[in-house]
Symmetry: C5
Subunit: 97 residues, 5 copies
Amino acid sequence: MLLAKVIGNVWSTKKLDKISALRLLLIQPMGDDLKPAGNVLVAADEVGAGFGEMVIVTQGAPAMQAFTKDELIPIDAVVVGIADNLEMAAEVAGKKK
Amino acid sequence: MLLAKVIGNVWSTKKLDKISALRLLLIQPMGDDLKPAGNVLVAADEVGAGFGEMVIVTQGAPAMQAFTKDELIPIDAVVVGIADNLEMAAEVAGKKK
Amino acid sequence: MLLAKVIGNVWSTKKLDKISALRLLLIQPMGDDLKPAGNVLVAADEVGAGFGEMVIVTQGAPAMQAFTKDELIPIDAVVVGIADNLEMAAEVAGKKK
Amino acid sequence: MLLAKVIGNVWSTKKLDKISALRLLLIQPMGDDLKPAGNVLVAADEVGAGFGEMVIVTQGAPAMQAFTKDELIPIDAVVVGIADNLEMAAEVAGKKK
Amino acid sequence: MLLAKVIGNVWSTKKLDKISALRLLLIQPMGDDLKPAGNVLVAADEVGAGFGEMVIVTQGAPAMQAFTKDELIPIDAVVVGIADNLEMAAEVAGKKK
C-alpha cells in the first residue's frame, strides 16, 4: 500500500451512479523520509480521514474489497487506514543514508 | 484514481467487438499543481466528458466495473466522473511548497 | 489503455501451452506528441495489427477479457484496436505547450 | 515480485475491520545491486519478517491470495517469503556492468 | 508482458506454503535496444528458463493463470515463455533512432 497525505477533496456532480455516495480525497503519495513523491491521486475514503493526515492507501483490484456493497465498484484507490505512527529501526534507517 | 484532462478523441475502425460501442478519449494525466505529468493515455468515456474538462479516471481491473454489460470487457481505463472542483487545505497545500 | 506502435514480432518456441496459439508483438508505447516513451513491451495481437501501425493496448487483468476462450490465460497486454486517427482539440493541445 | 528490505512498522488504530488483524510493515524496494530504489511501501506480513531482512513482496490482485480468509481483503502488497540468498551467475551479472 | 533476462535465483526457506514448490528467478527487465531498464524483479519460472536467457514475463493478476493448481496463488510475475528471436522491421526500428 502507499503512504500518502490527505491534501484536499474532489467534488464531482457528474459521475457514475456506482460511486455517487463516496467521499473522494486528493492524496499526495509519500516517498523516502516522508517527503512528497509522485503525482497527486484521487482516493475514496472509507475511514474518515482528515486534511493533513497520513493515510494508508490500497490500489488496484484489492481496493474494490474495501467496500461492503453487493457489487464491485470502479474504484482503484481507497484509504484503508490512518497511519498514527511509523516506527523505523535506527540501524536499518541509518543504512538508507 | 487519476486526475486527467480530456485532450482528444481516438478513432478506431478495426477493434474488438467487445469494445466497439465505446467512445475512446485521449487523456493527459495531471500531477502536482494540476500540471500535465506522465504519458497520454486512452480511456473509455462513461460520463460524457468534453474536451478540456478535468476528469477522474479509474484504471486496471476496477475499470471493468464501470460498465453495465453482462460480460467483462478488455478496458483498463475509464472516465468515472468529471472533477468540478478541487478543494485543497491552505495549510496542507502550503506544506507542499 | 496505452497508445503504442508495433515495432516487431517475438518468436518463442518454448512457452506455456495456454498462450501457444497467440501472435506476440513487440510494441513501443507512445508518450506526448506521439513520441516513443517508456520500455518496449510484448503484447498479444487480437486484431491483426501490422508493423508500424499505431495501436491501442489494454494491460493488466482486463487484457484477459480480450480472448474468447473458456479459461483465463496469463496475458497482461493485448492489442484491442488500431488507432486510425487521433483528434486533438487545438485549444486544449495548445495548452500543453 | 519485488525484492525489498523491511525498514519499520506502521501503526494504525483507525483502519478497516477487514485488515485490523494484520501486521503492517514499512518496506524499501531494492533495485540493481541491492540498493534502495523507489518509494517506501506498506506491506502486510504473512511470514514473520524482521527488521532489516530482505523479503519477497507480491503486489496487486495476487496479494489477496496470500490470506486464508473466506473473503478477499483490501491489501495490495504482502510479504510472501524471506530471501535468504540471491544467487547470480557471474557471467550474466558481469554483462550488467 | 515484459522482456527480461534471467540473472539469478532467489532462495527462500521461510515462505508461504502456497508458493513453496515454485522456482523463483531474479530477472532484469529490458528496455529499448535490449538494454537493462528498471529494477530487478523476482518471477516464478514455469518454462524452465536458464541463466542469461531472454524471457517473456507476465505480471499482475494474469500471472496467476500460469499455474494449473485448483486455487489461485500469490504470485504477481511469472516467466511464460523464452524469447528465441526478436524480429524488428528495419523501417520501423529506424524511426526510433
